[in-house]
């Protein structure tokens, strides 16, 4: 049963990745963009299914760092530099949010 689930998931992921890599009319950076979107969907799965609260906090941290890379590829493919401003602001905001979540998980209040 476990092996069947593992194989099905592997086939599903391989199908999506090959569809992204083979489908003809996309440019190179847009393909990278779609793969990072797929990574974001995997993080959202972990946020949905995570057994404990710490799993969800880890997935939120990962999603924040992923979106920074997402903004970088967007800035490369459109040639505008203000997407990197969004990346800087998002990295800062995600860091502060994760530190607040860890304080909450340790059982302390925000003004300790």
């Amino acid at each position: 049963m476990r092996a069947i689930r593992w194989l099905l998931g592997l086939l599903f992921l391989a199908m999506i990745v090959t569809w992204i890599l083979i489908s003809p009319p996309l440019s190179f950076l847009i393909r990278c963009f779609y793969i990072i979107l797929l990574c974001g969907i995997l993080c959202l799965y972990r946020i949905l299914r995570g057994p404990t609260a710490a799993d969800r906090a880890v997935a939120i941290d990962t999603l924040g760092i992923l979106i920074v890379g997402f903004c970088a590829i967007l800035s490369l493919s459109t040639g505008r530099s203000w997407y990197l401003d969004i990346a800087i602001a998002w990295a800062l905001q995600s860091f502060i949010g994760v530190l607040a979540l860890t304080k909450f998980l340790e059982g302390r209040s925000f003004d300790d």
Partner: protein, 127 residues
């Protein structure tokens, strides 16, 4: 001169592909591994390295213009903050009592807390 710019361009695209691969494998580890601590180890290191690699690719492709300077700032900021947040997350998960995976071998943090509680409390007061 044009040759150097072309070589830097291709190297930048190579770094972007490397970063996307690292991101993908990090998120695969976030799905597949059995435990909070293993997931944290896979996700944080791989995704930080991948995003820094994408940013280095942006720097190589666009040169030291406004994009390149901002990419350098993002690299410095990520290298400073991502290990901090990962350390805080693992410590918070251990204090909140998330159990380890059944196959894990040792837990040095709990041993330290059980065997030498005075030293641990002194260190916490110092920090």
């Amino acid at each position: 001169m044009i040759e150097i710019v072309k070589i830097l361009h291709y190297a930048g695209y190579g770094f972007v592909v490397l970063g996307v691969l690292f991101d993908f494998f990090g998120c695969l580890g976030l799905i597949r591994l059995p435990d909070v601590y293993n997931r944290l180890q896979a996700a944080t290191k791989c995704v930080t390295m991948g995003t820094c690699s994408i940013m280095f690719g942006v720097l190589l492709i666009s040169g030291l213009g406004s994009q390149g300077i901002k990419a350098v700032f993002v690299i410095i900021f990520l290298i400073l903050t991502a290990p901090t947040s990962a350390h805080a997350l693992s410590r918070a998960a251990h204090i909140a009592g998330v159990p380890l995976c059944k196959r894990s071998v040792c837990d040095y943090y709990r041993e330290d807390k059980v065997l030498r509680p005075e030293q641990m409390s002194a260190e916490e007061e110092k920090s």
